[in-house]
């Protein structure tokens, strides 16, 4: 049962083969047994989850259930959920019990009837690519417990990979859904910016942050995405568009699909074994009837530099709210108000978060704004223009998700720049605001390799189709780590 797809679970619940309470208990017991080693969850509340499962069973019995009612999921601890401790991986919020629901949580609970199993570990304030910046300790990759699961949605990725949950939510500011999905053999989707509400999702870089699903397959992602999207008055950048069924195009044949291969993603900088798996995936797509065309994203090498101006600038502004006054941590001893702020923030934030706040404060400060912040925004335009040009010649863009497989815990922790370069293939997609996915496409040295697919604006259903057809023809996404049963 724990390896079942969301569709299979949905059918089992509808056929009364299992109740939501039984299914939820199955996963909660698994979490209790395996989480101490993996550290994927930071908060589990058995009573709350079982209450939600009982409510779901009542809806199932009354015939008012939706397609995913009663299915348990894991929630990244960046989403405020009423009555749940919501930490964002930080000491600053270690004791913060949210008084309200994020829109995503409200939709998943109240509308879809999903059952939350708990809150998953993450890099502090989503700043990291290895889950090592969490105040609650690193998450371990279920494929090799000495390695990182990726980040920042590393807890969600590890939870699904170890089947502690059938699916999970993640958020992606520079690759935080796609990179951990790649490193843990999952399917993850970052939607077009503005498709999923950011209300109640603790802000990192507001012009880039976007929530999305992480699951075992494209089909599971499509079903979960259906519960997450929609216009929200409470998010000023939410897009008012007609509702979509993201699963509607899953089975369409790929004959005639034009796949763009950006030459910048196939040069140096990517490990040979990752590249070999990606090349094999291209051949598989050709067998499925797709054609490939070389495209160019000539400014993509500037995406990491531009991102490390824009994201910290927005973060330094967003994180100014953590001052020890209205919520969260306050230093135990202080003198003046200014001293209270400075000590609270010095003690409440970890090293990586402080670094990014300082970069942001610097690039926004008088005399540097034009040289850094405006220049980064102009480069952002160039990067978005590159994609627009490339999409004239192709329908989707394909390449590696991450330049390497999962690295060792501690391997890059001391060198921020090396860590930042883990996201060289994912960041440009956030800067442009495009939808992107990572799907499993093979193994190297026993570790999963992720294939990145990038679509044009609002092409989520097409991306899911392109991913699903590949998953019908391959079984990489069905491989599970050993030793966790």
């Amino acid at each position: 049962m724990i390896h079942n797809s969301l569709k299979q679970l949905s059918q089992a619940l509808a056929a009364k083969e299992i109740s939501s309470v039984e299914l939820t208990t199955l996963y909660l017991d698994r979490i209790a047994r395996l989480n101490p080693e993996i550290n994927a969850f930071v908060t589990v509340d058995r009573d709350k989850s079982l209450q939600m499962a009982q409510d779901a069973d009542a809806r199932l019995a009354a015939g008012t259930a939706g397609p995913l009612t009663g299915i348990p999921v894991a929630q990244k601890d960046i989403f405020c959920a009423e009555g749940w401790t919501t930490t964002c991986g930080s000491k600053m919020l270690a004791n913060f019990v949210s008084p309200y629901d994020a829109t995503v949580i409200r939709k998943m609970h109240a509308e879809a009837g999903l059952v939350s199993l708990g809150k998953t570990n993450m890099d502090e304030f989503a700043m990291g690519s290895s889950n090592e910046t969490s105040y609650f300790g690193p998450v371990k990759n279920p494929w090799d417990l000495s390695r990182v699961p990726g980040g920042s949605s590393g807890g969600s990725a590890a939870a699904v990979a170890a089947r502690l949950a059938p699916a999970a939510t993640g958020t992606d500011t520079g690759g935080s859904i796609r990179q951990p999905a790649a490193l843990c053999n999952l399917t993850g989707l970052k939607p077009t910016y503005g498709v999923v509400s950011r209300y109640g999702m603790i802000a990192f870089a507001s012009s880039l942050d976007q929530a999305g699903p992480m699951a075992a397959s494209a089909e599971d992602c499509a079903l979960l995405l259906n519960t997450m999207t929609g216009f929200d008055e409470r998010d000023s950048t939410s897009l008012d568009r007609p509702a979509e069924d993201y699963a509607r195009a899953l089975d369409q044949p790929l004959a005639g699909l034009r796949i763009g291969l950006p030459r910048e993603f196939f040069g140096e900088g990517c490990s040979a074994e990752v590249m070999a798996a990606v090349q094999a995936a291209i051949r598989e797509y050709e067998k499925l009837g797709a054609t490939t065309v070389e495209v160019s994203l000539p400014n993509s090498h500037l995406s990491v530099p531009a991102y490390y101006v824009i994201a910290p600038a927005e973060a330094s502004s967003n994180l100014s709210r953590f001052d020890g006054v209205r919520y969260g941590y306050r230093a135990p001893e202080y003198g003046s108000l200014d001293d209270m702020y400075a000590k609270t923030r010095a003690q409440g934030f970890g090293a990586e978060v402080k670094r990014r706040i300082l970069i942001g404060a610097y690039v926004l400060s008088h005399g540097y704004y034009d040289a850094y912040y405006l220049q980064a925004q102009r480069i952002r335009r160039l990067i978005a223009n590159d994609f627009a040009e490339a999409f004239k010649a192709c329908d989707v863009i394909l390449g590696p998700t991450s330049p390497s497989t999962a690295f060792k815990l501690g391997e890059k922790a001391a060198d921020p720049v090396q860590m930042y370069l883990s996201d060289i293939y994912t960041i440009a997609v956030n800067l442009a605001g495009l939808p992107g996915m990572s799907i499993p496409c093979g193994f190297a040295g026993g570790l999963p390799v992720g294939l990145q697919l990038v679509g044009n604006y609002f092409a989520e259903a097409q991306l899911l189709n392109v991913a699903h057809r590949y998953q019908l023809a391959t079984d990489w996404h069905q491989r599970r780590p050993a030793g966790l049963d």
């Binding site: 008084p99 309200y100 910016y193 503005g194 012009s207 008055e233 000023s236 950048t237 897009l239 090498h301 500037l302 530099p305 490390y308 101006v309 330094s316 100014s320 020890g324 006054v325 209205r326 919520y327 969260g328 941590y329 306050r330 003198g335 108000l337 001293d339 209270m340 702020y341 400075a342 000590k343 923030r345 010095a346 934030f349 402080k354 670094r355 706040i357 300082l358 970069i359 942001g360 404060a361 610097y362 400060s365 040289a371 850094y372 220049q375 980064a376 925004q377 102009r378 480069i379 952002r380 335009r381 160039l382 978005a384 921020p416 720049v417 930042y420 442009a432 605001g433 495009l434 604006y457």
Partner: protein, 95 residues
Amino acid sequence: MSLTLEQVQRIAHLARIETSESEALTTQGHLNGIFQLIEQMQAVDTAGVEPMAHAQDLSQRLRDDAVTETDRRAAYQAVAPETEAGLYLVPKVIE
């Protein structure tokens, strides 16, 4: 470009993060490594390129000037470090 220790201490003050001199020294090394990466931007001629603040070039949406939220002061203040009579308490700023 590289940041001096004084500049690091200045931005730490602006960001209201108490930083000891030894912490500032470590931070200085890290920030200079990061700015080396960022400096790649400076070689690019962006004259005439419109800065892109946002993925979709949207204008700010306006809503009706109507009350939509209920009073949840007690719930919101329950998570504050220190409150009294509905007010957030901080150290005295005016003698």
